[in-house]
């Protein structure tokens, strides 16, 4: 298992190395045009020097694909809970050389996803911060999902101002449906922690429709928080409706263990 700090250090080193290799190859390509002027006709013809550089570029690109393939397998492994295997793939991907910085950055994103799934939130947040401080270029779509992982990690760590900053930056983006679902779950959780109950209920029918599309536990938790908001704002009809739905969807003691705040809805038996 790669320690997170080491993974970040390795990423920074590899990004520098990648830039250096690219600059060197480009400089060599430019230099090859003047090779005859400088050394005369005895060394190597410009076209051959250019061919050699092209071959090196192709070989390095081919080698870079190995890392891409390795990293691409990890999201499915994380989703199915095979963390050990995902860890191995990401470790290999981080160690392999890549000519393209996007491959390395994407791998780091998957590592953040893995750490989040492993509930190692401090490391996940650190990885997200590192990733967001980089220029993502053609993979800028990763910004949104990284912000979401960061927001959730900070929320789990109890860093409410940090969560607010991460959430507010997401409102500037156009989100996909799965990202919108993720945002709703985190936002509801965040608002319940700062006790803004009326805001939680704003647009309730739409929020309910979205919650129905979430995975089991997340859906149950979000609806339970909506039920709690209904209780706090004196809406017994909605509270009862939502609470009954949650009771069908989730194991209540498990839910209470993850969010003790919800014990207002299901008080412990005396």
């Amino acid at each position: 298992m790669t320690p997170t700090e080491l993974a970040i250090a390795r990423l920074r080193r590899d990004l520098t190395l990648t830039s250096l290799v690219k600059i060197l190859l480009f400089a060599a390509a430019v230099f090859s045009f003047f090779i005859e002027t400088i050394f005369g006709q005895h060394v190597i013809a410009p076209s051959l020097a250019l061919s050699a550089i092209a071959i090196v570029w192709i070989l390095l690109s081919y080698r870079s694909m190995k890392g891409t393939r390795l990293a691409a397998l990890s999201p499915a492994l994380i989703a199915t809970g095979q963390f050990e295997q995902a860890e191995q793939h990401l470790d290999l991907a981080l160690r392999s050389f890549s000519l393209f910085r996007t491959v390395k950055l994407r791998t780091l994103h998957y590592l953040a996803l893995l750490r989040h799934a492993q509930r190692r939130y401090a490391e996940s947040a650190l990885l997200c911060h590192t990733l967001l401080s980089q220029r993502l270029g053609p993979i800028s779509d990763l910004t949104r999902s990284t912000q979401l992982i960061l927001a959730d990690s900070l929320l789990e760590l109890g860093d409410l101002p940090g969560t607010y900053r991460a959430l507010s930056s997401l409102y500037q983006h156009h989100l996909s449906l799965s990202e919108a679902l993720e945002l709703l779950a985190i936002q509801t959780d965040y608002l319940s922690r700062i006790g803004v109950w009326q805001d939680i209920l704003t647009g309730l029918p739409r929020k309910l429709q979205l919650a129905e599309l979430m995975p089991s536990q997340k859906s149950a938790r979000t609806q339970a928080l909506l039920a709690l908001a209904a209780q706090k704002t004196n809406r017994p009809d909605w509270e009862s409706y939502l609470r009954r739905r949650v009771e069908l969807l989730a194991d209540i003691p498990e839910l209470l263990a993850s969010r003790p705040l919800l014990s207002h809805l299901w008080p412990p038996n005396p």
Partner: protein, 294 residues
């Protein structure tokens, strides 16, 4: 035009299965590699000290052209991959939001041309199954699942999920003998003991074949599994078990289960999914939903 007839106009399943097969990879790459090899030979010949200046110039320009062409090809390949990814995401969202006719049009369009990768094609065929099932075209759904199962999968969970979808469609299609065989096959999977999907298929089979007691017992046994794995689809299990109670003339239990089902999923949607549950319409009250938004 109804949704059903609209879907029948397109979604020609055999044609889509054929047209969506990805093109053999590397044809473009082979052309570029060939051109590169030719340019290399040409450069070698042109680099002889006695060679005139023009061939040397052509060799340099040719090699530069080739490098630029390679860059353009890889950029365009990346762009098409991104486009396909976006289309897949859009189709998935339309299905999740139950905009079936739009999703059907989109998938008909996407699957009418070769997919960029076998994985993307599999994903889109799974979406196609969801749409076809929505329109009750179960024979077509089974054909797609059969096609997918013929592909060589390494992942046991993926195979189990495909077999589940196939078994459910066979049941919907009232092919009870085939469904029984499909369930026996499913039970042999390593994922079977923890499969909420398999439990749902078995409950449906029991309701369909008139074994309500078995359906009810299985439902209670597997309830924790349903809660953990199938989210709001747990309403399907409640709806089927309501039908099972109804078959046993246990009206209060049927009422409770029916209310639970309709608490999670609207009544018409459940009736559309299971004709057996539609038989309960009007006989049991659905759950009441607060009408006034907070």
């Amino acid at each position: 035009m109804t949704d059903q007839s609209a879907a029948n106009l397109f979604l020609d399943v055999p044609a889509l299965l054929q047209r969506s097969i990805p093109r053999a990879p590397g044809r473009r790459f082979a052309y570029v590699a060939g051109a590169f090899f030719i340019m290399l030979i040409f450069s070698l010949l042109a680099s002889a000290p006695s060679a005139p200046l023009l061939p040397q110039f052509i060799a340099i320009v040719g090699m530069l052209g080739l490098i630029v062409a390679m860059g353009i090809i890889s950029t365009s390949a990346a762009r098409s991959a991104r486009r396909e990814q976006n289309e897949m995401q859009a189709a998935e969202e339309l299905i999740q939001l139950r905009r079936w006719d739009q999703a059907a049009i989109m998938l008909d369009n996407i699957l009418s041309r070769p997919a960029r990768s076998p994985q993307a094609r599999v994903q889109m065929l799974l979406y196609l199954c969801a749409i076809l099932a929505r329109y009750h075209r179960y024979t077509d759904v089974i054909a797609v699942y059969d096609h997918l199962l013929e592909l060589d999968y390494q992942d046991e969970h993926a195979v189990h999920a495909l077999r589940l979808g196939r078994a459910m469609s066979i049941l919907h299609d009232d092919r009870l003998y085939d469904a029984d065989r499909a369930i026996i096959e499913l039970r042999r999977d390593s994922a079977a003991p923890n499969s909420a999907g398999l439990a749902l298929v078995e409950i449906y089979r029991d309701v369909k074949t008139g074994h309500p007691r078995e359906a009810i017992d299985l439902f209670h046994e597997k309830l924790p599994l349903f809660r953990r794995h199938i989210g709001h689809r747990i309403a399907d299990a409640y709806a089927l078990v309501a039908r099972a109670y109804d078959l046993l003339q246990l009206q209060p239990d049927a009422q409770a289960a029916y209310e639970s089902a309709t608490l999670l999923i609207p009544e018409p949607e459940l009736h559309r999914r299971y004709t057996e549950v539609a038989a309960l319409a009007g006989r049991y009250h659905p759950a009441s939903i607060p009408t006034e938004a907070p």
